[in-house]
């Protein structure tokens, strides 16, 4: 995956480029808004990671300009501004996701992966299958090994999101944002409790667990451990 990092803090850039490379991505960087806009216009990238505050041209303006030109590359905003209204501003400018500094690398990686998948037209897929676990989006039925599993509506959506991102790490914050649409800190690890409930429904009694906890990062549904 090709990622363009538009960020002016050299330390952060060096660290992120290295970390993205280790995760199998190619990352280029631009350290001001104009340069970033010029590179992004070439349209060679799968994801743009854009800092809000940049020299020459601020991040919001870069993304607005790109969107005005019809360039739809997914954008993840990075910002030290973590205020309630800033996220809304970022999304209004054409951003697809918003991450507040300081952030965990695993969070950034998981979100980049999710963004790229989202830009691919698999949203309309009628069913998700992971091993013998099947989620039918139309009939809203879930079965494992042909056995029906009864889920609460929220549990269904939680599983749906995990299965849509099967094989990829999904963080707690992402789940809170995408499944509950909450952009706040719930104080307690509420997500863990919901995951363990879901796990007891889909994994209990089956010899191969599908819902895995990735330590220090989040959760992943998939056949591998």
């Amino acid at each position: 995956m090709r990622i363009l990092l538009i960020e002016d803090d050299k330390e952060t850039v060096r660290y992120l480029v290295k970390a993205l490379a280790e995760s199998g991505h190619t990352a280029d960087s631009a350290d001001d808004g104009e340069q970033g806009l010029a590179l992004a216009r070439e349209g060679l990238y799968d994801v743009l990671v854009v800092d809000r505050m940049l020299p020459e041209r601020d991040g919001l303006s870069v993304v607005r300009a790109l969107r005005a030109e019809g360039i739809r590359t997914p954008v993840l905003f990075l910002s030290a501004l973590g205020e309630v209204d800033d996220r809304v501003k970022g999304l209004k400018a054409g951003g697809d996701d918003y991450l507040t500094k300081p952030f965990a690398l695993s969070e950034l990686l998981a979100r980049i992966e999710a963004l790229v998948r989202r830009s691919q037209p698999e949203e309309s897929e009628p069913r998700f299958v992971v091993a013998d676990l099947v989620l039918d989006r139309l009939s809203r039925r879930v079965t494992r090994g042909g056995q029906q599993i009864v889920l609460q509506p929220r549990e269904f959506r939680l599983l749906e999101y995990l299965m849509k991102n099967a094989g990829q790490i999904v963080t707690r914050t992402m789940l809170l944002e995408k499944v509950w649409d909450y952009h706040f800190d719930p104080q307690t690890n509420v997500i863990d409790v919901h995951i363990s409930r879901l796990r007891s429904k889909i994994d209990k009694g089956f010899d191969k667990p599908l819902l895995h906890t990735v330590r220090g990062a989040g959760y992943m549904i998939g056949e591998g451990g």
Binding site: V84, V88, A104, T188, V190, V193, H194
Partner: protein, 491 residues
């Protein structure tokens, strides 16, 4: 501090300077304007009333003089000029304030108590016909003006060759007018003096009390927050101002005290995890076993994340207290949000061995910041789970451990979270809304201590309020928000 006091308390050097200072006060200027207006009005009245001597002669006096002149004319007609001369001579003799002069057509005096024909009146030979004329004139001494006296008179031709002047001395009236004039002058003068004096006194009083306020505020600026503006028992506008200033100072003082408390608590809440983080990092650095070192670094990151959460909560509260957030409100179904958040926490409560039920069935549409309200409700439920211990199996019949309710009233919607825990003593209820306050002094349980103050800040931002009530047993926290119709206009 001493210096500030001296410079402020220093009196203006001279009397003239303090007078000038007083004259520049609003109270004095208003008094001066009032006095000037009164003087102008008085002068106008005086001029209208007593401005001209002719005004002193009443219509009745003129009529009397005319009747008298006609009478003498009748005598002359009936009994001849000699009889008229006689009448005039007789009347002149015992007259005091009445004046007569009968002259021939040549101007020779025939009878009367006036020496000569007054210059101010038309002369006898200029008179013709039977008509009266008259006016104001002076008599006595025309040379020595000070001895001249004023009079009013009418002139009438009698028979063919005589002219009669009948007059009235005006000395009495003039004296009266002079007295009235003097009284007016004295009265208005006294009024003016009293007015200016009152203005000076008022301005002095105002200056003294404003001086007190200035001195007090200077001491406060110098850092002594215990100072208060002295108030009198008058209850006037300056007292109201002093009252407001004092209320403001109380608020500032409590904020300052809060700030001190907060910094003490920050020292505890941030320094403790920082110290722990540092110790762990150091231990990981010195650890010979790579696996253990990695494990230690993982915990360092966990500690850092906790610190970030605390900082974020602090920043959010600060942002909310700074005022409204532009364009971040939306219209949404509060009942649905409350049910959702309760559902989010229900398994958490269950894991803690508690039951959580939610009664939010009545539809409630509000216009607010959905994320913030969600955060507030989450904080309330999270607090209830953290601080209300699980109920003993015996009182299961007493109902759920935590109850979330939504009540829709005419003007506001109230979300309440009730627990059956130890509650909060009435005396401490106000305090827990402040930042970083946790009632247990040890502060060992997890949490930033910012949960409730964040709820309070969210309530304030939305024009709502937060109430802490006794759930007997337990605590009920109510977050009351204004209804959409009120709020809609507000944004």
């Amino acid at each position: 501090m001493g210096e500030t006091r001296d410079t402020v308390a220093a009196k203006p050097a001279g009397w003239s300077r303090s007078l000038a200072a007083m004259a520049s006060t609003r109270a004095f200027q208003q008094a001066a304007i009032f006095v000037a207006a009164a003087l102008i009005a008085g002068g106008l009245v005086m001029w209208l009333l007593l401005g001209r001597t002719s005004d002193l002669v009443s219509g009745q006096a003129i009529e009397t003089m005319m009747v008298e002149a006609s009478g003498i004319a009748d005598v002359a007609e009936a009994a001849g000029p000699a009889a008229a001369i006689d009448v005039v001579a007789r009347r002149s003799k015992d007259a005091t304030s009445r004046l007569y002069l009968l002259v021939s057509s040549k101007g020779t005096k025939l009878a009367g108590n006036l020496e000569r024909w007054p210059d101010a009146l038309p002369h006898a030979d200029q008179r013709s016909g039977n008509r009266n004329s008259g006016g104001v004139f002076e008599y006595g001494s025309t040379v020595d003006k000070s001895r001249a006296r004023s009079a009013a008179g009418i002139v009438r031709a009698i028979s063919k060759d005589m002219t009669l002047l009948v007059g009235r001395d005006l000395s009495l009236q003039q004296e009266y007018a002079a007295q009235v004039r003097w009284l007016y002058l004295a009265g208005f003068g006294a009024l003016a003096l009293a007015g200016l004096a009152a203005g000076l006194i008022a301005s002095r009083l105002a200056m003294r009390r404003i001086g007190e306020i200035v001195v007090t505020s200077d001491r406060i600026m110098a850092g002594d927050f215990t100072q208060r503006v002295p108030a009198t028992s008058a209850g006037d506008e300056l007292d109201r101002l002093a009252g407001n200033l004092n209320a403001m100072l109380d608020r500032i003082e409590s904020l300052m005290a809060g700030l001190r408390e907060v910094s003490d608590n920050i020292a505890h809440d941030l320094k403790t995890p920082l110290t722990r983080l540092r110790t762990r990092a150091e231990a990981a650095l010195r650890d010979g076993d790579p696996a253990q070192a990695r494990d230690g670094l993982g915990r360092v990151i966990e500690d850092a994340d906790e610190l970030i959460k605390t900082f974020n909560a602090l920043l959010l509260i600060a942002r909310l207290e700074a005022g409204p957030l532009e364009g971040s409100t939306e219209t949404f179904e509060l009942d649905e949000l409350v049910r959702d958040v309760a559902e989010l926490y229900e398994p958490v409560a269950e894991e803690a061995g508690m039951t959580l039920v939610c009664h939010a069935d009545e539809p409630a549409i509000v216009h607010a910041n959905r994320q913030l309200i969600g955060q507030a409700v989450a904080n309330l439920i999270d607090n209830a789970i953290k601080y209300a211990p699980r109920s003993g199996s015996g009182d299961r019949h007493a109902g759920a451990d935590i109850t979330v309710d939504l009540a829709v009233a005419q003007r506001e919607v109230s979300i309440s979270v009730s627990d059956r825990g130890p509650g909060i003593p009435a005396a401490d209820r106000e305090r827990v809304l402040k930042r970083f306050v946790r009632l247990e002094a040890s502060r060992t349980r997890p949490g930033t201590g910012l949960g409730l103050s964040l709820v309070a800040a969210v309530a304030r931002l939305h024009g709502g309020r937060i109430l802490l009530e006794d759930n007997a047993p337990g605590l009920r926290i109510v977050l009351a928000l204004p209804r959409q119709d009120e709020k809609g206009r507000h944004d």
